[in-house]
């Protein structure tokens, strides 16, 4: 046996070594398969991200064509910006309002439309259809509905209520933008919740019912834990989406009245493209990226405490 193994070892030692071993070939195939996605990520995600950080260290005068390194000046400007308090408050209020309203309404609608009743298909289509409508067209229609003598106040007037000037009041303007966005996109989360609800085994409800559990207990102890991965997914999508809302603000309020609806993305647009402070705009982009990343990471960490199962 020793002779045999020695001979095998000798042969192996004298055989020319090939570079393309099976593991290397497998690795190459793997890299080739993911290379389009990898190239896309480098070109369209990592490179722009790096460029934004680079631009945030510059003062770029577009018209004069000058490009000057200013180090951390734009970050110092960010810390001293007197508008930032208002902008971050508006952003937080908008995001909290949007996330809470959207998720609550989407879950409620999904639970209602999960019943086996006549007409549920129609209502599912009805609530989902705004998702398919062009965002700008949707917002323009709402602009007419929300004006002083528009459709919303017309309906309120018919009920004997004198409606406010929705887009001109500091509180009502923010609320209006939130509602317009919620009605537009609630259908998407509703469909995700509906799919999750339909994956909950019915026998669990039957067993709980036999044990005397009421509807609320069944919801809290069975439905919520079993759809918790979907709640995590929708909350991440909605939080990130709420921080990126732009078109609705641009069409409905242009950040006003005052600065009550000037959220971070709109402020960034104003600074970079309207006021031509491109370096400062890039700095605000970095801030937005950090906020989105921090919130997403926080949600991802917290999932261990409340997400019941993960695949």
């Amino acid at each position: 046996m020793t002779d045999l193994s020695n001979r095998v070892a000798e042969r192996a030692a004298t055989r020319p070594r090939h570079f393309w071993t099976i593991p290397r070939r497998d690795a190459l195939v793997g890299y080739l398969l993911i290379s389009p996605q990898l190239a896309g990520s480098v070109l369209f995600v990592l490179l722009p991200l790096g460029l934004v950080v680079y631009y945030s260290l510059q003062e770029w005068n577009v018209l004069a064509g000058t490009f000057e390194f200013v180090g951390g000046q734009n970050y110092a400007k960010l810390l001293a910006d007197p508008n930032m308090g208002q902008v971050l408050t508006s952003t937080a209020l908008f995001s909290i309002g949007l996330v809470v309203l959207n998720l609550a309404l989407a879950l409620t609608l999904a639970i209602l439309l999960d019943q086996r009743l006549r007409g549920t298909t129609f209502f599912r289509t009805l609530f989902f259809s705004p998702v398919l409508v062009s965002l700008v067209a949707w917002t323009i229609v709402w602009q007419f509905l929300l004006q002083q003598d528009g459709g919303v106040n017309g309906l309120l007037g018919a009920a004997g209520v004198d409606g406010p000037n929705w887009l001109r009041g500091e509180t009502t303007a923010l609320l209006s933008v939130v509602v317009v966005q919620v009605v537009k996109n609630v259908g998407l989360n509703m469909v995700l919740f509906l799919a999750a609800l339909q994956g909950v085994p019915r026998q669990l409800y039957e067993a709980a019912q036999l044990d005397g559990a009421g509807a609320w207990t069944r919801f809290l102890r069975i439905t919520v834990p079993l759809i918790s991965p979907t709640i995590l997914l929708t909350s991440i999508i909605t939080v990130v989406g709420s921080l990126q809302v732009f078109a609705q603000i641009a069409v409905l309020t242009q950040g006003g009245p005052g600065m009550s609806t000037t959220v971070l993305v709109y402020y960034l647009y104003q600074q970079a493209f309207q006021f031509r402070h491109l370096g400062y705009g890039a700095t605000l982009s970095v801030l937005l990226f950090l906020i989105v990343a921090a919130l997403t990471l926080l949600q991802w960490r917290l999932r261990r405490k409340w997400v019941f199962h993960e695949s």
Binding site: A27, Y31, L63, G65, Q254, G256, F273, Q274, F275, L278
Partner: protein, 417 residues
């Protein structure tokens, strides 16, 4: 394992450098020109293209000349984004509110020696586009504001037509407000200032100029929003909106051209929208204010961008596009700044919708004595800051003086004072 990763990184880098770097190969054949404009009106574009086609007949080295319309609302933003993105047009229409930025930054090519008979340009029209005696954009459209009047609605409200008031020497803001108040009392709209919409406050210069008010001092360094003249003018407007209801309130969309509004402050290019009007209308000068008669003009210039690789050719085309003969054609839509064309007879030939008196009183007199709408270096940021600070004014119980003090507190640092 490291080799494939390194190869991929190198490939990505090469792709990036191939996309963005290196000298462009030498241009061969006729070179195209592109001009950014805000209008997408078919009649305007047809005329532009005709002039461009004529030019190309004698300049075979020039390829296709395209006119690239950008929506008015985001015009300057889009234009500067194109410039930042390396996609700058060769020529660009520049609005008066961004003139100080474009001219002051040195982004434009000097034009004085190129423009045909530049000496005949009205000084009031060229002021905004000059620096150190050089002309950096051709004052393409110098358009005074006037008041379009729906005479049917005025008559139905039992009021004298503005033209009668002009004859009686009573055409002022107080009388105009009485007319609008009467029309509003009948359930229609009184006066609207087009494009204002409680955001574009610089259009209010068409009113406050009558009080002798200014947004800032002539040297641009001191805020004048809280000066007594401005407080009086804004108090008048606030009363018109919230007490007299003679101006539609904030958050109300109004369209003069549909026939439900008594008067609209606008530029004469809007006359084209009255082609199929179902009501009788007139165009009269702005009403006099406490400081007497006045005129306000909006302007647009056309400049050649220094960044254009064909700047020389673009300037040559601009000179042809705006020579006396073509300016006469363009006067049909864009009031010219050439004195030789500023006669009621000449303009009547190109503006058939307006009569000689309307052209003389509103356009020709307006261009001669008009004050350009407020413009300042960094106008976009100033406009936005002032808009936000002015918002509290558009409430029924606003303290006008306090709000205007607040505007000055906000914009003074931006004025450099």
């Amino acid at each position: 394992m490291k080799a494939p990763l390194a190869a991929l990184a190198l490939a990505a880098l090469l792709t990036v450098t191939a996309c963005g770097g290196g000298e462009a190969p030498a241009a061969k054949g006729p070179q195209p020109l592109r001009m950014s404009i805000w209008t997408s009106n078919e009649a305007h574009l047809k005329l532009f293209k005709e002039i461009a086609a004529e030019y190309r007949k004698f300049h075979p080295q020039v390829g296709e000349i395209t006119f690239d319309p950008i929506p008015f609302e985001n015009y300057t933003t889009t234009l500067t984004t194109q410039i930042a993105g390396g996609n700058a047009p060769d020529l660009a229409w520049i609005l008066e509110n961004s003139a100080p930025d474009f001219v002051g930054s040195g982004a434009l090519v000097p034009l004085k020696s190129k423009v045909e008979n530049a000496a005949e340009l009205v000084p009031a029209a060229t002021r905004l586009w000059e620096r150190d005696g050089e002309l950096y954009a051709y004052p393409f459209s110098t358009s005074p504001f006037g008041v379009f009047v729906n005479t049917d609605l005025v008559k139905a409200a039992g009021q004298k037509a503005p033209r009668e008031l002009i004859k009686a020497g009573q055409w002022d803001w107080e009388h105009a407000n009485e007319i609008n108040k009467a029309v509003a009392a009948k359930g229609k709209n009184g006066l609207t200032i087009l494009n204002f919409d409680y955001k574009a406050w610089d259009n209010l210069a068409t009113v406050w100029q009558g009080w002798g008010a200014k947004a800032w001092s002539d040297d641009g360094g001191t805020c004048q929003f809280n000066a007594p003249e401005m407080v009086e003018a804004m108090t008048f407007m606030h009363k018109a909106i919230f007490t007299d209801k003679s101006m539609p309130g904030p958050g109300t969309a109004v369209d003069f051209f549909s026939g439900d509004t008594a008067m609209a402050v606008a530029q004469i290019s809007r006359a084209a929208m009255l082609k199929d009007a179902t009501f009788k209308w007139d165009l009269v000068p702005l009403p006099a204010g406490p400081k007497g008669e006045y005129a306000v003009i909006g302007q647009a210039g056309i400049g050649v961008l220094k960044k254009s690789p064909r700047a020389e050719q673009a300037a040559d085309f601009l000179a042809y596009f705006t020579n006396s003969a073509n300016s006469a054609k363009l006067a049909a839509y864009f009031p010219p700044a050439r004195t030789s064309l500023l006669t009621a007879d000449t303009m009547a030939k190109t503006s058939p919708m307006l009569n000689g008196d309307q052209l003389q009183k509103v356009v020709i007199d307006g261009i001669q004595k008009g004050v350009v709408k407020p413009s300042h270096k960094g106008q976009a940021e100033l406009a936005q800051t002032a808009r936000a600070a002015l918002d509290p004014l558009w409430k029924p119980d606003a303290d006008v003086k306090a709000v205007l003090d607040g505007v000055c507190a906000k914009i003074q640092p931006l004025l450099g004072g």
